[in-house]
């Protein structure tokens, strides 16, 4: 099978390596019940996990809960991580993202559609709240990659991935046909992948 991982950036420091191999190793150790290793893993990735959850869920209290659930799931399923199939960070963010999306959709079920849309509507990809954002050294590379997307692709991706809308909802929000929304999301991701150099 081919393997994919984003080419590692140059932000590893000697004291706190956050490169892919370090995270994968900590996950492996966690899988055997090593709580200290998991604590180190938490320290390394929690800002990104929480950042993503918070971006999707918005509400701080619920973001707190979802992040906790995500880390519990990461701990519990740590043995399921297969590094031949992708990076440890991506694996963890996938878990967190799914939980965040589930939460935001279920929380909305009782609210009106319009309210839900306006509350989840983002302004930009950057989270511009006062409590944010630690700019990471490798963020520049991602920003540059995002800049290669069309505005339409970027918007579709923001709504789908960062705001947790289904592609059907994205189509409605952007007032485009369903196929268009699907294509923009997919093409945007492909462009991002190729520009970032997701390697085999």
């Amino acid at each position: 099978m081919t393997q994919f991982e984003v080419v590692s950036s140059g932000d590893d420091s000697p004291d706190e390596p956050t490169g892919a191999p370090a995270l994968a190793e900590l996950l492996r150790q966690s899988a055997s019940g090593d709580e200290d290793a998991f604590g180190r893993l938490y320290d390394l990735v929690s800002p990104r996990v929480y950042g993503l959850v918070r971006r999707v869920v918005r509400d701080p209290a619920q973001s707190d809960e979802v992040t906790q659930e995500a880390f519990l799931a990461i701990w519990r399923t740590s043995s399921r991580f297969d590094e031949s199939r992708g990076s440890a960070l991506s694996w963890m963010l996938t878990i967190a993202h799914r939980k965040a999306v589930d939460r935001v959709r279920s929380a909305e079920a009782s609210r009106s559609r319009d309210d839900a849309y306006s509350s989840r509507e983002p302004e930009t990809t950057h989270d511009a709240t006062a409590e944010t954002v630690v700019e990471r050294l490798d963020a520049e590379r991602v920003h540059r990659a995002l800049a290669t997307l069309t505005h339409a692709q970027r918007r579709a991706l923001e709504l789908a991935f960062l705001s947790g809308y289904t592609h059907t909802e994205v189509a409605a929000l952007l007032d485009v046909p369903l196929g268009t929304a699907k294509t923009r999301i997919r093409d945007g991701l492909i462009r991002l992948r190729d520009t970032l150099g997701v390697t085999t």
Binding site: T77, S90, H97, D102, L162, H167, T168, V170, R186, L192
Partner: protein, 298 residues
Amino acid sequence: MSDDIHALSGAYAVDAVDDVERARFERHLADCAACQDEVASLSEAANAMATIIEMAPPAGLRERVMREIKTVRPLAPLGDQPHDVGDDVATPGDLTTTLRPRPEDQHGYAAGPAGADGRSEVGRVEQEGSADRPDEESSGGLRAVGGTAERRFGLRRGRDRVLAGAAAVLIAVGGFSVWRAVDQPTIAEQVVAAADATQVRTTLPGGGSAVVWRSASLGRAVIQTTDLSAPPSGRVYQLWLQDAAGGLRSAGLLGPGADQTVALEGDARAAKGVGISVEPVGGSVQPTTEPLALLVLT
């Protein structure tokens, strides 16, 4: 039409699909290596986008997480686990116990392992829990009931919603592995989402209510209880499927908790009704008390 399903790979990779689409795409994914690879790479790209968003988590979160993991044991690696005793008596597509998010539920987790469904070989899918209690309490126990191993399962709920357990699993299908955090479409999800699903409701004595869905095409039924009062001490609620002749066959036990969603064991395709009765702990071969509810299936 077949073009359509591949085109979902991008949306799927960023969770921009609803439950039904997810289930449908995952069925497709099991047979499509190209989509598996694409989803893997697109997912990696999406998560790279996420890495630029960072926010310091609240101070108490670390302690809460570290405390919680003490009560939950990491899953053993796939392939190392013994088969369930009950595997040979389990019905196909057995025993998944998570369900679709509902607004009023928040924390929840499946008690007990899920078995393989008819479409793919699943290596020990287990779902994580909210770990209000130690893992041991939540795991599905096997109870011998008149010589038949019945699996006890149930879903505990907290405040708002039930987690559709995002177990990241390796699903080995025909030699291919789908690596990403795939949510196995649960029996309950499938039944409720099935095009031919019918639904009946009843109130329960002592307060509370129950809803039963049945999908003839899937041949399974699901019951969801709300505010179910606790059974008497030493007793447990048992589920029954009623056949056309009126006979009752055990469909499993309800776990503890006022709000549960449980997939009934056994073939519900031709069932005439679903019953709930109070039985001694461990269940009975036949009801020993008058069922407190008997829902007639449409």
